[in-house]
Amino acid sequence: MARALLFFCLCFAAISCNRQEKCPTQELKPHPGNNLRMAIRKEPQTLDPRLARDLTTLGLFRLLYEGLTRLDEHGQPQLALANSIEASPDGKSYKIKLREAYWNNGDRIIAEDFSYAWKSVLQPEFKAPNAHQLFALRLAKKAKQGDAFVDAVGVDALDDETLSIELEEPNPNFTQMLALPFYYPVNSRWILQRDWEVKKGVKPNEIPTNGPFSLEEWRRGDQLALKKNDKYWDEKSVLIDQVDLIQSDNATALKLFDSDHLDWVGSPFGSLPQEAVAPLREKGCLSSVPATAMYFLRFNTSRPPLNNEKLRKALSLAIDRDSITNQLLRGGQIAATSFVPSSMGLQKQQLISTKSQPSQAWLLVSQALQEMGLSRTEMPQLTLCYPQDEDNLKVAQLLQKQWSQLLQIEVKLQTCESKMMASKLHEGDYQIALGNWFADVEDPINFLELFEYRDNGTNSTGWSDKNYRDLLQKARTTGDRKERDALLAQAEQILVDSAPIAPLYQPTMNYLAKQRLKDAYLSPLGYIDLKNASIRHYNIDFKQEANSKKDQEEKQ
């Protein structure tokens, strides 16, 4: 019996000893096909660009659809379906000439496709979750609220090739916004013939798309196969024949990547297991892109004791953001110095210290307690809700420890799954909640407008400020970029001073890509660009190449 047990333990030890010295990004064997295999955590919820809501669906649409412009690897808009864009001197009118391009079902892409798509979203009864992204158009907001006719909205198809756009206010980022999925066209003739919204028996691969890839097959829960769209206007630039999006959880995806069954794991369609990130980073295998996003705490300002501004500020000042990013998470995250990510360059100086400031925080707590008429011992326990996730748990535990040690404020932790969390925020049934925001566009206002109105779905703090709102409104009306940034910077100062939120850190998007994949870009907005990506083929024996590389390295 002892011999049997010893044998069993030795087997187990042999299996467990798995020291992988080399980077998993190195290929184990040549991959014969010209298809890219990526891991995807969740399936898209819809294939209608007007109904897109989550990041996965929006990311997928970047492969299936294209708009008037397209963002390059530097986030700058380039002409796509638009052949030319003429803006009026006041920046409120645009005349866009379309290039000759086709849907994958052979229909020509016409100006009416854009007009129809945008106007249908702005119909009051159309259940578009992101209709507010189109409110830059003249009368768009009023039309959505039912106070204006949709036909009066500032977009018209002058003819098949010419689109006229009128904006409510000049917007220097408008050409960038035209690249977003919210401004994509739909095949108006196909929809009107098929009555797509009503008849839900349409097969996914029948839906017309106009991007570099089209959906060939969708095996639910398993895989989406995208093939190169031969009718794409720039199909010569597309060098990959097929993209397979394989659905699996993060741990299984990493194993598939290790065994060379996948070419890309991690962001944007998934994430790497948290325990794998630091070791991969140390080996130098990991690729990272700082996301245009922010993780932050929301304080419920409509309920005591967090209706006290000094208390909220104290809690924010007591946070050691450097320890969260450098010691706890160690995934390349950037400690927050403001609410708008520092990469957007809105502020010239730090609004928030990355180190904790215990003495200031302690003083503010004392003042807050005095205002509330409470003593130290009467300070109620606070509750911090965080979404169920390993990283979030660690951050919540660290915050609990910091607040307890520095301010003697006891905080209870409450884990919530995503639906519960969303309900709590919607109903205002929380005290402190950990949340995040990923920007839709590289524009600071995309962060600041979250808290513009008290009843914004993205606000949930119960906070609002008239000066703040006025500054945002003014920023929207000015076409001068410098003036706009100055106004937004002032608004951000108000937000940080009032502290309905406490920024924590800017996340990074981590991913692993096989060395055979070239020129694939992940933008800070979380979109992957595969238009010019290619897969290196081996035309010599794989072992020979590996051996000759090894000989060269030894000689050096």
């Binding site: 969303a422 919607h426 779905g457 993205t458």
Partner: protein, 308 residues
């Protein structure tokens, strides 16, 4: 016959009660199916609520669901609004059924062969060691089992596919992961039952008559050990046939187990309820079948019931 009709009646009653209880419980779960990390504008939220009938009281929702279900319309998934619930279940049913059947086969293979081998083995020390190993095996969590098998057979030896459904060979590891625990328990249970049978006077009589041990075991002991075994196998069959969320996740298989857990976490009511009802129907059918097989295996049960 009377027994069968009685059983059928109670099955139907259980199923209906389960339907109502599950419907209420899913509605009582905290969280809203229409809210998530990306909030929608208020008026869109109200529109969606009306469209999905979530603004109605629960009994009106139940009535509507029953009416639609009686016409064969299970509606569309809230999370995948373009997809009918029936299509989602149909697409996953074959895979889960195949995986479950294979797992059941492995379970019986492990269980019966191990129990028979142990019963026939004269070495007491070997039996004790084997029983200890069986206890270890059925204490092993299925996710650990799955991960170890993946590591050994896929990553180290590359004998079998690591994950995803690519044919029957890709179901071998997941089926084995599912089967090991129950198979070990089955072996342990059957061995205990067979050992009890060995002490029965009629078995001793047959031994004295000179029957071979294997014949004695298979023809006499096994038949008598079947009824309690069937009571375990009935629910186990249903459990295996409907898949396991953990094993399906580890092996990236798009099965019913994963679909159920994901639908619950998304609060996808139109999908959750039919899945739960499918699970419970499988349980009810398998337990009913086990009862019938028990009657066949032990006719004395039938006579006892007639007397009652």
């Amino acid at each position: 016959m009377k027994f069968i009709l009685q059983r059928l009646f109670f099955c139907a009653l259980s199923w209906l009660l389960l339907l109502v209880v599950c419907f209420i419980m899913t509605r009582l779960l905290p969280g809203d199916p229409l809210l998530d990390d990306n909030p929608v504008p208020k008026h869109v939220y109200e529109q969606l609520k009306r469209e999905w009938g979530l603004d109605l009281p629960w009994h009106a929702q139940l009535k509507k669901w029953l009416y639609d279900a009686s016409k064969g319309d299970l509606g569309n998934s809230i999370y995948y609004p373009d997809l009918p619930v029936f299509t989602i279940i149909k697409d996953k049913l074959f895979l889960s059924f195949s995986l479950g059947s294979l797992a059941f086969f492995f379970c019986c293979l492990i269980g019966f062969t191990t129990a028979i081998a142990l019963s026939l083995c004269p070495c007491r020390a070997c039996n004790q060691t084997a029983l200890l190993l069986l206890v270890l095996l059925f204490s092993l969590p299925s996710f650990l089992c799955a991960a170890l098998l993946q590591l050994l057979f896929s990553m180290k030896l590359a004998w079998l596919p690591l994950a995803r459904y690519e044919g029957l060979t890709s179901l071998l590891l997941p089926a084995f992961s599912l089967a090991i625990g129950p198979g070990a328990y089955l072996a342990h249970l059957l061995y205990g039952l067979l050992q009890q049978m060995q002490q029965q006077p009629f078995i001793r009589m047959a031994q004295a008559k000179g029957l071979y041990p294997f014949t004695l075991l298979m023809r006499h002991s096994m038949r008598n050990a079947l009824p309690p075994l069937l009571a375990y196998l009935g629910p186990l069959t249903a459990l295996l046939l409907t898949g396991s969320f953990i094993v399906e996740t580890v092996f990236a298989l798009p099965g019913l187990g994963r679909a159920l857990i994901e639908s619950i976490s998304q609060r996808d009511y139109p999908l959750t309820l039919p899945l739960i009802l499918l699970y419970s129907s499988m349980q009810i059918i398998c337990i009913f079948a086990a009862d019938l097989l028990t009657l066949w295996a032990d006719p004395r049960q039938h006579r006892k019931k007639e007397l009652v």
